[in-house]
Subunit: 189 residues, 2 copies
């Protein structure tokens, strides 16, 4: 699965691909388990094979805000913590049972040093992830709450089904009641 994901980023000799995959360890956690706690130095890149993660923070007033719901088949980490080796303020827990691959920072750096082709392959992935992040952020700016919901419904209907409404609401930047009104309007039409 991870292999297919990597292949989407371009050619890579078999032996280098093997090298890459050999540094990944497979893990499983249960629904409700904590993956990242505040003040934690995030030291891994995660690739989800199954399940959903809830990444969130708190406002000054103590309200919980969803920053991301991590879906299967994507690479994810707390970028600023991983890259700059600083602690994160945020938390991440499993919304369902989750199976994932993990790359340690140490191995990530070793892979980048191994060869020029591997180094460029990795940076292509980072650039790709960055592009997606930027597009996502821009979409959020230009879309209304309702448009964001419809967009999610189109691009990731499974997530809508599997993740609690209150968390979806927080993700698209509204209250659970307002999301409810939106859904009522949509089913009525």
């Amino acid at each position: 699965m991870l292999y297919d994901y990597f292949k989407g980023f371009g050619e890579l000799p078999d032996n280098e691909m093997d090298y890459l995959l050999s540094h990944c360890t497979l893990n499983e956690i249960r629904k409700g388990d904590v993956l990242i706690t505040p003040h934690h130095h995030v030291d891994s890149i995660y690739f989800l094979e199954k399940g959903y993660l809830h990444y969130y923070t708190y406002t000054d007033l103590g309200e919980r805000v969803t920053l991301k719901v991590v879906s299967p088949n994507v690479c994810w980490t707390v970028m600023e913590s991983f890259m700059n080796q600083i602690p994160t303020e945020n938390e991440c827990i499993a919304l369902t049972d989750v199976r994932f691959c993990e790359f340690k920072r140490k191995d990530y750096l070793a892979i980048k040093e191994k060869s020029k082709s591997l180094s460029n392959f990795i940076s292509r992935i980072v650039e790709q992830v960055l592009s997606l992040k930027v597009i996502e952020a821009n979409n959020k700016s230009k879309m209304t709450v309702e448009e964001r919901y419809l967009h999610l419904l189109q691009t990731n209907p499974e997530m809508i089904r599997e993740v609690p409404v209150s968390i979806i609401a927080s993700l698209i930047g509204t209250s659970r009641e307002t999301l409810h009104r939106i859904r009522r309007r949509l089913t009525a039409a």
Copy 2:
């Protein structure tokens, strides 16, 4: 100025730094001049020395939305267009007279191929920019409009002075009237 900016990202041998800087061309444009138009393939990375750029898009209803105000002393480009060589939908114009350095995509790729240290240096910058982008996006999620304004006021007071209120309002995700009310409240207190 660009030299100082680069030095902030770590050590690099003098000759490699010279090589890097030799690929940069200096340009100037006037207030109101257009830098990027829709359907344009963005082919450069820009480093602002002086002035402000306005990067924006339009909603389905034709309303203009500010995606970014580019300030001096930062590197910037339309990431998804530059990285994937696809046309952008968005526009960018100069809000003031602007002086900037420009790296062409061709040179960017050449620099990455030149040596491992240059390649890693570049990817460190990309990772850094990515981190900032993510932090910015997360802050936007967790802050109210007023908090975003106060945050801007603290981190970039010059921008608040130089850029029209209506554009600041759009940047922080509100109308110019609401930003006005916020400012009135703040000066009253």
